[in-house]
């Protein structure tokens, strides 16, 4: 356990070390390459900023209007039939639109039920196997000016739904319902 947290301190510096040493061996001008890449990176961020603003405003409207809470209440009886804990639904929905909002909800669940509870475990596993679909889609597609995304959303939602169900069944299977 400690090993993984320790390892996480190493990932970024060691990755960079490898890349720089590899570049030295190939005798390229490393600093020039870095600057060239950094310029591209900055341009990308400027390009996607309007999308970011648009998306975050839309999510804020949905959340602050109370619609997401309402949707959770509507889904609660339906979801209760399957045995999936309704408390995790807001997190499942929020996870698709905003990583930071989802993290906030995860903290709430940890505070209320504890990280080692049934709900805490499902939430932890779920956060590990799902992604912020809408955010990623808008950033990537805006960057290349694609407006017709075809089956991207359907495929991504299928993958994330599978992740949520897998998180639920694996948790029940390994740890039981407490």
């Amino acid at each position: 356990m400690r090993f993984f947290l320790y390892l996480s301190d190493f990932i970024i510096p060691v990755t960079i070390l490898f890349i720089v040493v590899f570049g030295c061996l190939k005798k390229i001008n490393i600093y020039d390459a870095f600057i060239e890449g950094a310029v591209d990176g900055l341009k990308t961020v400027v390009d996607i900023l309007p999308t970011l603003i648009g998306l975050m405003v839309a999510v804020a409207v949905l959340r602050s209007s109370g619609f997401l809470a309402f949707l959770t209440e509507m889904l609660r009886p339906l979801v209760a039939l399957t045995g999936f804990p309704a408390e995790v639904i807001p997190l499942s929905l929020m996870r698709l639109v905003s990583s930071s909002a989802a993290t906030g909800l995860l903290m709430d669940l940890f505070t209320t039920y504890g990280p080692d509870s049934f709900i805490g475990r499902i939430a932890s596993v779920m956060m590990s196997c799902t992604e912020t679909v809408f955010y990623t889609m808008s950033v990537y597609f805006t960057a290349v000016k694609i407006t017709k995304t075809r089956f991207t959303l359907a495929g991504a939602l299928a993958a994330n739904a599978a992740g949520i169900l897998a998180a639920y069944y694996i948790t029940v299977f390994l740890f039981g319902r407490q």
Binding site: I19, I53, S65, G114, V125, K145, T152, A156
Partner: protein, 193 residues
């Protein structure tokens, strides 16, 4: 698609707030969301520029192409239309590897470069090709093997064994990616380009 989602979110939220009387909260939400987005972009600008720079070194030094060759047998199944030595394949590899390692900030620049390269193969520029759809789906199916931040949060909240979700997390991640790939392969047959 995004046009539809955006309009839908805005209308739904505002009309809903009108009914429930949450207009003040929505008003606040709109004003602070714009500010939050700019703050986020400022943070992003620093980190993305740094990683794009590092990525450029890896690309010019040939490291990305070495890793890309190793991943090729797997990637060829996902992207049959993209050739082995192409830049697109290299950036896709870089994006996937950064995702495996949980380097989200490093994954985004590589991912956007991959999209720009994939776009060169695309015949209808405003419409996603099969390769682009598949790349996006796999990217969004979650690839990260060990979610360090979740483990750290669990520790912070007093878990007796914060790391116990690593195994289940990896299995669930494999399942979500597998289902994403299968869904993508099935959908590309029916969805006309």
């Amino acid at each position: 698609m995004l046009n539809f989602i955006w309009v839908f979110c805005m209308l739904l939220g505002i009309v809903f707030a009108l009914i429930t009387g949450e207009m003040a909260a929505v008003s606040d939400g709109i004003l602070s969301a714009g500010k939050d987005a700019v703050n986020l972009a400022l943070t992003m600008a620093g980190v993305v520029a740094t990683w794009s720079g590092i990525m450029k070194i890896a690309e010019k030094g040939g490291m990305i192409s070495v890793l890309s060759d190793k991943l090729y047998p797997l990637l060829h199944i996902l992207f049959p239309a993209i050739s082995k030595k192409s830049k697109a394949m290299q950036y896709i590899s870089a994006n996937f590897i950064a995702n495996f390692l949980g380097l989200g900030w490093a994954a985004t620049p590589a991912g956007i470069l991959a999209m720009k390269e994939l776009q060169k193969y695309n015949t209808k520029k405003d419409t996603a090709s099969n390769a682009i759809c598949m790349f996006m789906i796999v990217n969004m199916s979650s690839l990260q093997l060990v979610t360090i931040n979740i483990i750290a949060y669990r520790q912070q909240y007093g878990s007796a064994n914060p790391g116990e979700i690593i195994g289940p997390g990896i299995v669930a991640t494999l399942i979500s990616t597998l289902i994403g790939v299968l869904a993508g392969k099935l959908l590309e047959r029916w969805w006309k380009h």
